[in-house]
Amino acid sequence: MARLLEHQGKALFRRMGIPVPAGRVVQNADEAIGIGDELGFPVVVKAQVHAGGRGKAGAILFAEDRDSLARAVDELLAKRINGALVNELLIEKKADVEAELYVAVTADPSTRQPVAIFSLRGGVNIEETAEAEASAVYTMPIDILRGFFYYDALNLLRRGWPLDSRRMFATANIYTNLYRVYREYDCKLAEINPLALTADGAVAVDARVDVDDDALARQTALDIEVAEEAGERAATALEITAGTIDKNDHRGSVHFVQIDPDASYARGEGKVPVGFDCVGAGTSLTTMDELIPLGYYPINFCDSSGNPVGSKLYRITKVIMSQPQIEGYVFVSCVSSQQLDNTARGIIKAFKELYPASGGQPNIPCVLVFRGAWDDVAIDLFKQHGISDGRWTRVLGRDTAEIEAAEIFDALYKEWKSETGGFE
């Protein structure tokens, strides 16, 4: 999922005729004061980060004059919001809000079609509202071939609230334009929360636009850096790096997510952070399930499957090994038709480049399990290149179950730690 920043989402809204407050992106207090003077006070100052729940996280401040604006800008630029550094701020004219609505179009996996969602309880966490009071959230499935028309929006809005006609028409107009954003930009979610009702009409005070990352090849105008979906936080530099691997080459795929980017969770739980790669997401999960009780925590998820070319394995192995916190590496393939000798070659080339002095033998415990097509060739390649002879490397075959791979890694790690003392 590629999530746009608020100001990027609002740019799309503006293009589609959805009213948004006047505003500008700034990077320092001087720029902000210039914009404040231009817009007129009071203004709202909003940190431009991907994290959700910005209001609760203190990422949105109000300023009544130049001094309070400068203070707000300095405060936010010095902040981390849910771990994300704040580099940009959106300064907007503060709207005189009379009521807040929630309007969105998203994909409903259960019906495999878009769904329009509307609630009177805008401005708050819609998931909580839906859970606490399901009757406060109204939905309408959308036939993607038929589309979503103005009168559909009116029908949905009528279920929720006896809006006065002027506001009802304005909101319905915005809703149909929001559906255009959703369709034209291949979104998974196009959301306005809140849609503010003011004396002048309705205005999108916030914007959340999540573009389906499988559609980014044709959404080039959005200039989005591709990365795997990582929840509410922004993609990390390594995830963005990994995202470029599949960009121009669809022969197999690598899906890389940093579960614990700085290994703080692993360390906090007293577990050893390890780098991790699997062929097949199911194998990935079962191998994690075996590693974690033994005291190891894969700080990344990676699924290199669909028969990726060797160059993809080379690149993703370098990415995985570039996580500075890891004290081990585990690779496990499921029993599949993937040509594992190509997979092996990619890993071998990466190891040789990363460990030139030892001829590709890693300095940390590594367990690699090859099971499936050409697994014997894969194992033999590690022997031919002398990597299997490495003190801290075990290359195993199809008679190895996930639990055995984890146990072998555990024993190897303990030997490594005992003999070398590990990393300081």
Partner: protein, 107 residues
């Protein structure tokens, strides 16, 4: 110096030093490309590796980037092949990284 150089689909180049290939007895790259590679793009011409498809076809994906030619040349040939597969964002990441990557540390 005589060189065969071509671009591959994922963004990168394969460079073969043909002067070294002339002294190579195994021609391991051609053998492995035709035995394991789905692309089978290399052939022997005048005693050195040459491309069967055009440069454009190779760049569009005729080369399946299994890396076998480089690795087998390293083991059984004259170390004549260098495959360069850039990952610019990783270079940027490593430049900005304050911690030392594991592979550069000593246990």
């Amino acid at each position: 110096m005589s060189v065969l150089e071509f671009e591959v689909r994922s963004g990168g180049t394969i460079r073969i030093d043909l002067d070294k290939c002339r002294a190579c007895e195994t021609k391991a790259c051609v053998k492995i490309c035709n035995s394991t590679g789905m692309g089978q793009i290399l052939e022997l011409k005048d005693g050195v590796p040459a491309l069967k498809p055009t440069l454009e076809e190779v760049k569009r994906g005729a080369c399946t980037e299994d890396l076998a030619c480089e690795l087998d040349c390293e083991l059984y040939g004259k170390k004549a092949i260098v495959i360069t597969l850039p990952l610019p964002k990783l270079d940027e990441y490593l430049e900005d990284l304050t911690a030392t990557p594991t592979y550069l540390r000593e246990a």
